[in-house]
C-alpha cells in the first residue's frame, strides 16, 4: 500500500500545457477515481504517476519519497490498460509469469504468486489458453492478474472497462471493488463514466482542461458541488440548470426567482454574499423534483422515458428552458401534456455568473418551499 502526493504537477506537449499545477494527496489504501470528459488530462495524469509520461514540472511522491525521476519499474506501480495489452503470443500463465521472471523474482515465489492471483480472479482454468481465446471479461481479469502478481504499492487502472458491454461492465465494476476490499491496496482508476466513478470510488477527483475542479467523496460531490461543471457532470440524468435572479436581503434570507419570474423561492441566506441583485443559475437535480398538482414548476411534456424502476420526463418551462424530472415507478404522462413539480429547497444549488456554487448558510430554512406567483 502507498500514499501518493502530487505537488504542483504540470505537463506540456510541445508548447501546449495539458496539466496545470495539480496538487493532490491520495490516501493509503483508498480507491481514487479520476473522472472527467475526454481530453481533460486524466489519463495523462495517471501515466505520469506510472512513469510512462514525463512530468514537465512539479513532484510526485510515493510514501514520502520523490519518484518522478524514476523509471516505471522502480516505482512499484502496476497498470491495467484499456486494451488489456496482453501478450498474444504467450499463454495466460506466461503472461502472468513473464514480468516476474524479467524482474528476477525468486523462482520459488513465482508459482505461488500466480496461483494466488488466479484464485482471487477465478482464472485458474484459463492459464493454458492464449489471449485470443478469451472473452472480454476474462481478458480483463488476466490483465488485473498480471498487475496483482507484481504485488505493487498501487494499482493504476486506465479506463479498464470501456471495451466491455454494459452488463459485463456492471459485473466487473463490482469485482474490482471487491478486489480492492480484499487486497486493501491503493487504487487509482481513470474513467469518463460518472456512474462508474460514483459507484466505485472512496474519493472522486473531477478534472477539466487539466485542472482539478473538485475532489471528495461521491456523497460530498453529489450534495455539495463546488461549481456548475461538477454539478452537471455528476448525476444521471444531469442536473437541471435554470437562469435565475437572486436577491440577498438583510433579513437572513436569499430570494431566487426563475422561469421568467414565475417561480420564486426563499433559501437560507448566502454565507458570503453582500446584499443586492445577483444573476445566477439555479440547479435542481431531476430526482429531487416531485409531481405536485399546484407545483411551482410547470412544464409541457416533450418526452417520456420509462426505465422500469423510474420514469424520466422531459419538458419545457414557460420560459422556454428545458427541465427533466426523474420520477419513481411508472408515470402515465403524454407528450404535450402540462404537468407541475415541486422541489425541496434544501436540495437546490445556486451558482453565480462564473458557475461557482454560492454557499448557502447552514441554518434552518425560513419560509421553506416554493410558491408560484
Amino acid at each position: 500500500m502507498a500514499r501518493l502526493e502530487l505537488k504542483g504537477v504540470r505537463k506540456s506537449f510541445g508548447g501546449t500545457p495539458v496539466i496545470h499545477d495539480i496538487d493532490l494527496a491520495i490516501d493509503e489504501g483508498s480507491f481514487t477515481v479520476f473522472v472527467g470528459p475526454s481530453g481533460c488530462g486524466k489519463s495523462t495524469l495517471l501515466r505520469m504517476i506510472a512513469g510512462l509520461e514525463e512530468v514537465s514540472a512539479g513532484e510526485i511522491h510515493i510514501d514520502g519519497a520523490r519518484c518522478d525521476h524514476l523509471l516505471p519499474s522502480a516505482r512499484g506501480m502496476a497498470m491495467v490498460f484499456q486494451s488489456y495489452a496482453l501478450y498474444p503470443h504467450m499463454s495466460i500463465y506466461e503472461n502472468l509469469r513473464f514480468g516476474l521472471v524479467c524482474q528476477k523474482t525468486p523462482k520459488a515465489e513465482i508459482k505461488p504468486r500466480i496461483e494466488r492471483a488466479a484464485d482471487i480472479l477465478q482464472i485458474a482454468h484459463l492459464l493454458d489458453r492464449k489471449p485470443a481465446q478469451l472473452s472480454g471479461g476474462q481478458s480483463q481479469r488476466v490483465a488485473i492478474g498480471r498487475a496483482i502478481v507484481k504485488e505493487p504499492k498501487a494499482f493504476l487502472f486506465d479506463e479498464p472497462l470501456s471495451n466491455l458491454d454494459a452488463e459485463l461492465r456492471v459485473k466487473m465494476r463490482g469485482e474490482i471493488v471487491a478486489l480492492h476490499r480484499r487486497l486493501g491496496s491503493t487504487m487509482i482508476y481513470v474513467t469518463h463514466d460518472q456512474v462508474e466513478a460514483m459507484t466505485m470510488a472512496d474519493t472522486i477527483v473531477v478534472l477539466r482542461n487539466g485542472r482539478i475542479e473538485q475532489s471528495g467523496t461521491p456523497a460530498e460531490l453529489y450534495a455539495r458541488p463546488k461549481n456548475q461543471f461538477v454539478a452537471g457532470f455528476l448525476g444521471s440524468p444531469q442536473m437541471n440548470m435554470l437562469s435565475a435572479l437572486g436577491l440577498q436581503s438583510g433579513e437572513n434570507r436569499f430570494s431566487v426567482s426563475a422561469d421568467g419570474g414565475r417561480l420564486r423561492l426563499q433559501l437560507p441566506r448566502l454565507a458570503d454574499a453582500t446584499t443586492g441583485d445577483l444573476r445566477c443559475t439555479l440547479g435542481i437535480r431531476p430526482e429531487h423534483l416531485e409531481l405536485a398538482e399546484g407545483g411551482a414548476l410547470r412544464i409541457t411534456v416533450t418526452a417520456r422515458e420509462f426505465l422500469g424502476s423510474e420514469t424520466i420526463v422531459a419538458g419545457t418551462l414557460e420560459s422556454g428552458e428545458a427541465l427533466r424530472a426523474s420520477l419513481r415507478g411508472a408515470i402515465d404522462v403524454r407528450v404535450g401534456q402540462s404537468i407541475a413539480f415541486d422541489a425541496d429547497p434544501t436540495h437546490m444549488h445556486v451558482f453565480d455568473q462564473d458557475g461557482v456554487a454560492l454557499e448557502i448558510a447552514e441554518q434552518p430554512v425560513i419560509h421553506a418551499g416554493m410558491r408560484r406567483v
Binding site: 512513469g51 510512462l52 519499474s73 495489452a85 498474444p88 503470443h89 524479467c102 492464449k130 485470443a132
Partner: protein
Amino acid sequence: MPSDDRLTVDPARPGGRRDALDAQAPHAPSHAFDDARRIARFRWSVRLTWLLLLGAIIGTLSGTGLDFSLIAKKLPFLLGAHLSPDGFIQGAPLTVLITVISITCCAVIGVLVAWGRMSSNPIGFAAATFYGSLFRGTPLMLQVLVIYLALPQVGIVMGPITSGVLALSLNYGAYLAETIRGGVLAVPHAQREAGRALGLSRHVIAWHVVAPQALRFIIPPAGSLFVSMLKDSSLVSLMGVWELNFLAQSYGRSTYRYMEMLVTAAAIYWVMSIVCELFQARLEKRYGRGFEPRTAL
C-alpha cells in the same frame, strides 16, 4: 501446390463465415461433421483443379514437339548433379546458395535500416531514408552492373558471385527494411507500454514482446520478397555465373533448343518457389499461434 494450412474460411458459407450458433445447436456434432466434410471437399477440389491445370500446361507444351530426351540429358546439370569446369557448384544449387547468402545479408541490412528509419536520431534516420530511396529508386539490373562493371573503375573489384550477392542484398534490404518497419509499427503501442509498466527493459520489450508479434506481420511480405529474390538471382547470369538461368541459356544456345531448356529452368524455379512458400506458410502458422480466436468447431 499452396499449403492447405492457410485455409481459414469456410468456403461453403456466404462470406466464408462459420455460423457462430453451430456450437450451441442441438446437433452440433453433425454440424461439425458437415463442416469438416465441406472443407475436405473444398481441398480436394483445389488439388484436382491444380492437377488439371498442370496437365493442360504439360499437354500444350508436349504439342509443341519438345525433345524430352534432351531435357532428361541436361536436367542433372541444371539440378547441379555435376560440378562446373572450375570445380564449383552450378545450376539450381548455386542459385539457392546465392539466394540464401543474399537473404542473410539482406535481413541484417533490413533490420539495421528499419532501426534507423524508426530512430529519433536525425543522422540515423537520414542515412536510412537516403539508402532506402536510392536502392528502391534504381533498377536492380543497373545496380548489378554498377557493382560488377563500374566499381572496378575506382579500384573496387569483386567476383561475380560477390557482386551478385551484394546487389541483391542492398536492393532487397531496402524493401525489407520497410516491411520490418511496418511490422514493428503494427504492434499496438500499448504492448510496449505494458512492458514498461511491468518493469521490463527496452531490450526485453524489443525481443520478447515486440519482435514475436511483429514477425506475424513481417513474414508474409518478407516471404514474397525472398521468393522474388530467388527469381531475381537469375540476374547474376549477366556476369557469367553458372547458375540455373545461365546454364539454361547456354544449353539452349549450344543445342538450338531454347524451349526445352527455358521451360525446364522455369519448372525448377517454380518448384523452388513452392518450397519457399510452404516454408513461409509453416512460419506464418507458427508465429500466428495464439492470434487466432477459437472457432465454434
